[in-house]
Structure formats: structure tokens, C-alpha cells
Amino acid sequence: MNQHKKFNSGQEHEQIVESQTTQNSVQEFSSVEQLLRHDADRTAAPASIEQRLKKSSADFPQPSRPWWKRLFQ
């Protein structure tokens, strides 16, 4: 839905011309956003963050669910 809204706001023309995804291939991005999306797609959060979070969140009590969730679900 949001994606639809944003694309309707002036980026319909965005097309990616992408050659083979082999290493060192030339890729063409028609917008900065396309380039950043490509970069984001190949950037994963390190697994160490999840391990640290599991430890640090164990020091705190489980938070209660948001009030509206408790009310409506």
C-alpha cells in the first residue's frame, strides 16, 4: 500500500537495467533509491546483534503488550 503510494508520487519511470549478477558485472540504476535498495539487500545485520539482544533482554521483565492490543485482540 505504502509502496504504491510512493511510486504514484513520481517514480513510475524507475526501471532498473541490470546485467548478469556475476561479480564485477556492470549494473545500471536509474535512481539513487534503486542503488541504495540494492546495497541494503546485500547488507545483513550481523548475527552477533541477535545474540547480544538475547542476553541483554533477559535482564528485563517481559513487557506487557500494548494496551490497545490487550483491549482488541
Binding site: N2, F60, S64, W68
Partner: protein
């Protein structure tokens, strides 16, 4: 009597348990951690700081989950925490240069260079080139580009996150794209 843990969790989701036992929070992390880490990485420009920031953002989210009012999406809520956190870090480090009108004049004169497609040789250095270009941008432009690149966010949501109207976002994005394109070409 000795019913399985998962069974008890389903029946009593609000009871105090070790943190990650909350499947809702684990799901939240699985769905949004990549986006939050990417924002922190490219906004702060340092993988270790981005890792620490992502950890801190999700820990804060875990502790404040009960304050989430459902007025925005989880993604937007997490982005808000992340933006505040990264801005606070930046202020304390004082690592970035101040943006001036003189800088803006440079971007405005760069139209011709920025309207051609970005041709990129796919190498492991691509991330470094992107980071170099982003680092040279004013914070506001860098943040706008990173947020708008997330297809889950609308212009309206980006405007809310950056405290401006959607039209203002569109106007600034136009300049931000041009500025990035110029800086990116310089990294070749």
C-alpha cells in the same frame, strides 16, 4: 501440570518471562533488523557503531513495547527510535561537518551530472563508494535518501519521521538525489 513451555506462552503471553521468549519481539526483530541496521550503518558510517546502535535500538524497543500505541507501523516506530538514537550519537561524537548554504549552491549547480543513470561496477568496494558519498552529504539529505529507499515507507511517513510535510520531503529529495549523484561519481 507440566505442560510444554510453548503451550504456556500461548496461554499467558503477558506474564514475566526471559526476554527473547516473547515470540512477538523475536518476530519484530526478524522482520525489521536488516532495515534498522542498514539505516544505522549508512547514517553513522561505521559497522561497529551500527551494530551497537542496532542492539540499543531493539533493546529500547523491547523495554518500551507496551508504549507502542499502534498509530504508526512497527517499522515507523522502530525507525523513530533509531533516528533519535543515531542523532544523539552523532551529536556526542561531533564527527560531521555542518551543512551550509554554500554547500547547497554546489548541489544546485550539479544538475547535468546527476541526471544520467548510475552505472556501477559490482564489486565489494561498492558499499565503500556509497558510504563515501553519503558521508559527504548533509545529515538531513543522507537520512532522507536512506528512508525513502525503504519501499515500506511512504513520503508521508518519511515526512512524519523527519518532522516535515510530504511536499517538503519531495523538494529536499530532489536536491539530495542530485547531491548524491555528484558525490558518487567522484568516487569512481
Amino acid at each position: 501440570m507440566n505442560e510444554p513451555m510453548a503451550e504456556r506462552e500461548r496461554e499467558c503471553p503477558d506474564q514475566t518471562q526471559p526476554g527473547w521468549a516473547s515470540s512477538e519481539f523475536a518476530d519484530l526483530y526478524a522482520e525489521h533488523s536488516r532495515a534498522i541496521f542498514y539505516l544505522a550503518l549508512r547514517f553513522l558510517g561505521d559497522p561497529q557503531k551500527a551494530e551497537d546502535a542496532t542492539h540499543d535500538v531493539f533493546l529500547k524497543a523491547f523495554r518500551k513495547m507496551d508504549q507502542f500505541r499502534g498509530e504508526a507501523s512497527w517499522r515507523t516506530w522502530l525507525y523513530r527510535i533509531a533516528i533519535n538514537h543515531c542523532r544523539n550519537l552523532q551529536q556526542s561524537w561531533n564527527e560531521r561537518h555542518m551543512f551550509s548554504n554554500a554547500d547547497e549552491a554546489i548541489w544546485e549547480n550539479a544538475v547535468a551530472q546527476s541526471e544520467s543513470p548510475l552505472r556501477v561496477l559490482e564489486t565489494k568496494e561498492l558499499g565503500e563508494r556509497i558510504q563515501t558519498a553519503l558521508d559527504a552529504l548533509p545529515d538531513e539529505y543522507r537520512l532522507l535518501l536512506l528512508l525513502i529507499a525503504d519501499e515500506q515507507l511512504s513520503y508521508e511517513e518519511v515526512g512524519t519521521l523527519t518532522e516535515q510535510s510530504a511536499d517538503a520531503v519531495r523538494g529536499k529529495l530532489h536536491r539530495a538525489r542530485k547531491a548524491f549523484a555528484v558525490l558518487f561519481k567522484k568516487t569512481e
